[in-house]
Amino acid sequence: MDERIEKLTLMASQLRRDVVNAVYYAKDGHPGPCMSAADLMAVLYFDLLRLNPEDPSWIDRDRFILSKGHACPLWYAALARRGYFPPVELKTLRVLGSRLQGHPDLKKTPGVDANSGSLGHGLSQACGLAIAARKRGSDSLNVVITGDGELNEGIVWEAAMAIAHLKLTNVIAIVDNNGMQSGGKVEKVSGLYPLREKWEAFGWYVVEEDGHDIGRLLPVLERAFQRGRATREERQGMSLLPDHLRRGRASAGVPHPDQPVVLIAHTLKGKGVPYMEGDNSWHKRVPTDEEHQLALSILGGQDLE
C-alpha cells in the first residue's frame, strides 16, 4: 500500500505540473479547479480505473466523466501520462486544430468518454452508461468527478434521483468539494449546504474524505470500486471503510446493497501551488513566466516531451 501511495503522490504532482505547463503554453485555461482534483485523478487513472490505452474504445473499460469539464487540462494530463497520447501534445491545448479542445470532446480526444464543459451533466450520462453496462452484463464502472459549484444545476439532482431509484450501484460519484465556484465561495453564491444531507435525502450513501490524502482516498475508493463490480449478494454487509477505521463496528461504512455511493472529497482550490491555493482568481488565469517557473520548481517531475 505504501508504495502505491508514494507512486500516486508523485503522479499527482506530475499532473499538476502538466496542468501548469499546458495552461502556460496555451495562455488560457482553468488551473485552480484542476489542482483540487489532481490527487483524485491520480488515484483513479493510475490505480483503480480499468482501462486500455491501446484500445480506447474497448467496450468493457470503466467509463470516467470529468463533469467539471473546465478542469480538462488535468484530464488531458492524466490521459497523456496514461499513454493515450504523447504528453508534448498538452502544449496544443485550445489551439486551432488540436485534439485538446477548450472543453472535453469525446470525438476528438482519445480516452475522453463523454463530453462535458456545460456544467452538471456528468451524472446523467453516467446513468445512461450504467444502464447500458448492466444490460450487457458488464461489470464496468461509471465514475464521475463533479465540482461542488456545479451541484447548483437542477439536472444533477434529476440524475441523482434517477441513479438511486434505478439502483445503479455501478455509478460512483465523487464531489471535488473545493468550496469555490467562479463567483466566489460556494456558500455565498448558492444554498448548496448541507451537502451530505442532500445526497442522503436523494438515496445515496455518503463517504467524506480529505481529497488530498491519498493514503485515505485510495482504500476507500478501492472498496467502492470492488463494491461497484460486486453482485448484489456480495454487496450485502460490504463496508467502504478499512478495518482500522471501522473501530469494531460491523455496520460502519456499510451502504444498503442497492445504494449508489458518493465520495465528498474535501479539497482546496489551487492545491499544490502555494500562490494558487485558496485564491479564486486562479479559477481561470495564466501564470506569468516567473509564476510558471516557481510552480515547476515546487512541483518537480518531468516536462512535456
Binding site: L106, G128, A130, K135, M161, A162
Partner: protein
C-alpha cells in the same frame, strides 16, 4: 409506437426513454412486451436527454419520447452539447408538435418552435411525418440514419393521409400531385390535406399547381426543390409551425440562394395562439384553405417580369 415495437423486436439495442411520458406516448404495450427496454426517468427531460446520451455511448439506440417542446426546449442544451455535438445515435420523438396537436391544452402544450430549434443544431436529421403510417416508417428509418434524429409527431389523433404502401424516403421530397406549374406548394404534417383542397379549388379557377410534401426538413432535398422552383417560379409553404425557422424559412433560404422567386409562408404568424379545437385553431390563425388559396394567387401575381434565370 407500433413502429418502435417492430424495431425493438428486430434490434436488441433499441430502448425507449420516457419522462413520465409512457401514457402520452401510448407506450403501455411496448412496456408490457419489453419491460427491460424502457427507461422511465420521471418528469425530468434534461436528465432524460443526458441519460439518452449515456445509453448511446454505451452502444444502445435510445428513442427519447415525450412532448415536442419538453424535448426541444427544456432539454435543448443537453441535446445540442451532449447528443448532437458528439453525433450520438439518439432518436428523439416529439409529440404535440404544432399548434393544432396541442389544441385545447393551450400554449404550454402547443409547440410551434421545435423545428426551428432542431434545424439550427448541426448533425440532427429532422423528420416531420404526416400521419400514423408515416410515423411508423419514420421511426424505422431513424434507426438506420446514423446520428441524432428528431421525429416530430402530432397528437396521435391526426387523420390518416397516406396509405402504408407509399414509401417514406428520408431526405427526399414527396410529390403528391402535379396539376401544373403555375405554383408549387411545399407542405408537411397535417397541413397536407388543406393544401390538397386548396390546390383543387385553384384548379377550378384555372390555376394549376404542384403539391409537394417536405417531410425531411434536414437534410433538405435542395436539388429537387430548386428544380421545382425553376419550373414553377412561385411557391407557397404550409406548415403547422411558426413561420420563422421551419419549412417556410428552409424553402425561402433555398430560394434566395439558388432561385430567387416569390415565396409566401402559411403558418403561425409569430404570435402565441390560444386553446381551441384543432381545425378551428388552424382556421383562426391564418392557416385555412382560403388563406392558402389567397396566398397562392397573390404569390403568382408577384412572379417577376422578366422571370429570373430567363435565358
Amino acid at each position: 409506437m407500433q413502429g418502435l415495437e417492430a424495431l425493438a423486436e428486430e434490434d436488441d439495442r433499441i430502448m425507449l426513454v420516457c419522462a413520465d411520458s409512457l401514457k402520452a406516448m401510448r407506450a403501455d404495450p411496448f412496456l408490457e412486451k419489453f419491460p427491460d427496454r424502457v427507461v422511465e426517468l420521471g418528469i425530468a427531460e434534461q436528465n432524460a436527454a443526458g441519460v439518452s446520451a449515456g445509453l448511446a455511448l454505451g452502444g444502445l439506440i435510445p428513442y427519447f419520447a415525450t412532448y415536442a417542446g419538453f424535448i426541444t426546449m427544456r432539454a435543448c442544451e443537453q441535446i445540442r452539447t451532449f447528443i448532437a455535438y458528439p453525433n450520438l445515435d439518439v432518436k428523439m420523438v416529439g409529440i404535440n408538435g404544432g399548434l393544432a396537436a396541442g389544441e385545447r391544452e393551450g400554449v404550454s402544450h402547443q409547440f410551434f418552435e421545435d423545428l426551428a430549434i432542431m434545424r439550427s443544431i448541426p448533425n440532427i436529421t429532422v423528420l416531420v411525418p404526416a400521419d400514423a403510417g408515416q410515423a411508423r416508417q419514420a421511426a424505422k428509418a431513424a434507426a438506420e440514419i446514423p446520428g441524432p434524429v428528431y421525429i416530430r409527431l402530432g397528437s396521435g389523433r391526426d387523420p390518416v393521409i397516406f396509405d402504408d404502401k407509399q414509401p417514406f424516403v428520408p431526405g427526399k421530397i414527396h410529390i403528391l400531385e402535379q396539376r401544373g406549374n403555375d405554383l408549387v406548394f411545399f407542405c408537411n404534417g397535417l397541413m397536407i390535406p388543406r393544401v390538397l383542397v386548396a390546390s383543387a379549388l385553384l384548379e377550378a379557377k384555372g390555376i394549376a399547381c404542384t403539391v409537394v410534401e417536405v417531410h425531411t426538413l434536414k437534410p433538405l432535398d435542395t436539388e429537387a426543390i430548386v428544380e421545382l422552383l425553376k419550373d414553377c417560379r412561385a411557391a407557397v409553404t404550409a406548415e403547422d409551425h411558426n413561420i420563422i425557422g421551419g419549412l417556410g424559412s428552409a424553402i425561402m433560404e433555398c430560394a434566395a440562394e439558388h432561385c430567387p422567386v416569390p415565396v409566401a409562408r402559411i403558418g403561425l404568424r409569430d404570435v402565441f395562439p390560444g386553446s381551441g379545437h384543432p381545425e378551428a385553431l388552424l382556421d383562426f390563425y391564418g392557416m385555412s384553405v382560403n388563406d392558402i388559396v389567397e396566398a397562392a394567387i397573390s404569390t403568382i401575381n408577384r412572379k417577376p417580369n422578366p422571370l429570373p434565370n430567363e435565358e
